[in-house]
Every structure is written in C-alpha cells, then in structure tokens.
C-alpha cells in the first residue's frame, strides 16, 4: 500500500512540475490527459486517507549521530556525547527495548543479542530539576516579591512551558521514548534531563546561562498579572500598604460616565496622604477599586522592589 502511495506522490509531483515549471510556461498546450489523470490520482489519494504520522527516525536519511552532534553545536553548548545521548533515553524506551529483545530471544535462538541501552535519564532528570529550581529561585527572588515570584516559578516549571521550550529547541525528534507523538510531559522531562547533562558536561555556570537564555526569556513581553493576580486586590493592597509605608489609603471616585446604563464606567483613584498612588477603571465602583489597587501594586510593589534590588 505504502509503495503505491509513494508512487502516486512521485507521479503527481512530476505532473505538476511540468505544469508549473516556468521554463515550460510558454508551451502551447497542456495535454488533454493531464487533468483527468490528476483527478484520478487525487481520488485514489483521498480514498486511502491521510498518511500515517511517522517518526522522523523512520525516514531513510535519518542520521542520529549527526543530529546529536548538531544539537549542541547549534545552541553553542559543549555537550559530552555520552551524557547527551543518555539524557535523551527515557525509562519507557529501555523497557520497550528489553521486551523486544526477550521476544526475539524466544523466537530466534541463534541470533546474536543486539546491543541495547541500559541506562536511562532518570537521574539526569532529577539533577536537572534541582538545577532549574535553584536557578529560578535565585533569579526570580531578586526581581519579585515572594508571592509573584512563586507564581512565576510555577509558571516557568509547568510541563506546558518546559515542553514548549524543548519543542522549539528541536528535541522532539531526538527523544527516545515509547510514546509517539511525544507527550508534553516527556518533552518537559527531557528538557530537565538536558539541563542535567549540560551541568555534567560543562559545569553549573553554563547550565544556568542556558536557563537564562532559553527559559527565563519566556517571561519577556508577558504581563505579570496574567500569571499572578491577588484574589481580592483591594484587600491585598490594604494589607501590604502599611509595611510599604502608605498610611490612610482611601479610594476616591474621580470620574464616572453613563452610570445609569449597562455601559457604566467609573474611575477610582487610590489616595494616600493626598497623593495619587493608583488609578483604576471598571464597570462598577467595586471593580474600579480593585483595578486601582492592582495598578498601585504594580506601580509601588513590583517596580519599587526592582529598584530596591538594583540599589543593593
């Protein structure tokens, strides 16, 4: 079936080439048989259905050694070949290989045992996890107060984020695991393992720089309140206002419009000691108060924190 499929593809490609090739554009006519043939090919193609998803390693020209070599080079990192290879082998893959070998042994007794990988990347994953955790703690706690830092940490170490980074570093095809297509959690674990591998091959400093370049940069252009938001912003701000040195915080209604309609809009300012510290809008006064508090938190807490840290 698949040979037939490939033949169809090759043929239709050849036909299209003759039609769309600019060199042959000044050919007077396209032969009468071309259209019905293409139609028939298309019909057969549709009947067979879409081509099954295949692993990149199943293709003929796949060269795992070259890919492994190129992976480190294109990121500008020095990986130890052995360790990098190990970091890409998952536990599930090892088990799969062992089962396969057992099956082979039972069926054919004479064949020589094929070499299989014994070691998987589980201890590299653990090591990588620890490095990521430590580095993010260090990096984020310099920049943000405790609660947002925690939320950002969680955001960056979530499977979705790690797998996103791993996928775009080009790890998807290199991973050796049982599941196909590769699941997000597997991608995320592999990223951690690669960090572990980098630590073992070129040291902690390179690993941290790697994280800075590829993981921490995911925060750029993101709004902090998309990731972390206090549940009741006004109460939260009142709670922290004192320790930040803002006394007698009071909300005042600055502007309002269309108050009697569904499109009502209020503007509330938070004042402390007759100074405006945050401005918010909303469809109700309560809402506007909360957004004013959010604005104040952003202006005072997050930005001042950065300044304070920069001075230290």
């Amino acid at each position: 079936m698949s040979i037939f499929l490939r033949n169809v593809n090759v043929l239709s490609r050849q036909l299209l080439k003759t039609i769309h090739n600019p060199r042959t554009a000044d050919i007077k006519h396209i032969k009468r048989w071309v259209a019905p043939t293409l139609k028939e090919l298309k019909r057969r193609r549709d009947k067979i259905g879409p081509e099954p998803l295949r692993k990149r390693s199943e293709f003929l020209e796949w060269n795992y050694d070259a890919e492994i070599y190129a992976f480190g080079k294109r990121l500008g990192e020095e990986f130890d070949d052995e360790i990098l290879r190990k970091s890409l082998i998952h536990r599930s893959y090892v088990i799969q290989q062992e089962l396969k070998q057992e099956r082979e042994e039972t069926t054919t007794t004479t064949s020589a045992p094929t070499e299989i990988a014994k070691e998987d990347n589980s201890h590299l994953i653990e090591a990588g996890k620890e490095i990521i955790k430590n580095y993010l703690n260090k990096a984020l706690q310099n920049q943000y107060p405790e609660e947002p830092a925690e939320a950002l940490h969680k955001y960056l170490t979530a499977d979705d984020m790690l797998s996103h980074v791993a996928k775009h570093l080009g790890l998807t095809d290199l991973i050796l695991s049982e599941d196909f297509p590769v699941e997000n959690s597997t991608l995320a674990r592999t990223f951690e393992a690669v960090i572990g591998a980098l630590n073992e091959s070129s040291g902690l400093e390179r690993a941290e720089l790697f994280l800075k370049d590829f993981l921490l940069t995911q925060l750029s252009d993101k709004d902090i309140f998309d990731i972390w938001e206090p549940e009741k912003p006004y109460e939260y701000f009142i709670g922290i206002a004192k320790e930040l040195g803002y006394k007698d915080v009071e909300p005042r209604l600055c502007n309002e419009s269309a108050t009697n309609t569904i499109l009502a809009n209020y503007q509330v300012g938070l004042y402390s000691n007759k100074k405006l510290i945050g401005l918010g809008y909303g469809e109700t006064i309560e809402n506007a108060k909360d957004t004013a508090a959010l604005d104040a938190i952003q202006k005072i807490k997050l930005q001042n924190f950065n300044k304070k840290q920069a001075l230290q």
Binding site: D223, F225, D226, E229, P233, N255, E256, S257, A258, T259, N260, T261, L263, N265, Q267, G280, Y281, G282, E283, N287, A288, D290, T291, L294, D295, Q298
Partner: protein, 178 residues
Amino acid sequence: MSALKRVQQWATFARIWHIYDATWQNPFESAALLKKYLMGLHKPIYHPLADCGDHVVVINCSEIALPGDEWKKRVYFHHTGYPGGASWTLAWELHKKNPTLILKKAIYHNMRGNLQRRYTMERLHLFPNESVPDEVMKNISNQIRQIRPVPKRLDHYTEDEVKEFPKLIDYPKDYIIR
C-alpha cells in the same frame, strides 16, 4: 487578559454622555458640532468601523435661532409615496409641530447616508425644554460649550440696570417718543 488590560479597553471605549444647550444657537452650525461627538470623531481612536461614538443630550431645542429669514424661507419636503403625496412645510410650521425636528433633521443630514447613520442618531436625545428625565440626567458627565454666547434681551434687564446704563445724551424734555 489580565484585569488591568480588560478595564483599559473598557475605559477606552466608555460612552460619555454630553449635554448641549441649544438656546439661541444656529441648528446647522450646532449639527456639525454635535455630529462629531455622536460619531466619535473627537477621539483620536476614531475608526468608521469602531463603535466609539458618544451620547448627546440636547436641551431647549425649541429655543433655537435660525439665521436671516430662514424661518420663512426654509422649506422641508416630504412625500408620502402615493401620487400627489408631496408636501412642503416651512421651517416655522415644522417648528410649531415639533420643536425638536429642525435640529434632528439638521444633524441627520450632516452625516453621510450609510448604514451607521440611523444607529448614530439613536444616541441623540432631544428635548424641547429644560425638563430632562432623571434617568437620562444621571448619565451625563460633560457639557459641550455653546457655539455663540446667548445675548441678554432688553426686557430681561432690570429697571435699575437700564437707568444706570451710561448714556451719551438725554432726550430733551419736550421730545416726543412715538
């Protein structure tokens, strides 16, 4: 979208209610002014497809002032659609029938005839005098400045003010004012 971004959008496209006093104002000049607020042309975010127009409440529509002899000469045409259904109404007659109609028509004709025009007109609230319902009055948060100042009529000055007004000459005692 974070809460801050959401309310930023909300505030950007907030509808403002303006009030305009039509006393002694030319309705045709006023129309050009009010149209800007109704369509949102006064906002730098204006786009013909964006719904960014404001509401305008016009009071004292019955007090408008038409220039020259427009009251007598301006004619409003209407056709019922049946043969012989044409009718011509003078401005003063129309004003007598409905004191808000001259201003309404002036604003309506000041805008281009597209699908949006009728919806934009929905945002215009005309009142013949100063009495505006409370639920409308609560929405208002801005006043549009009148185009020209309202002059004070001679019979609205008090007798003392008239007496103390500086005069160049006094009429002679035997002068007879007809």
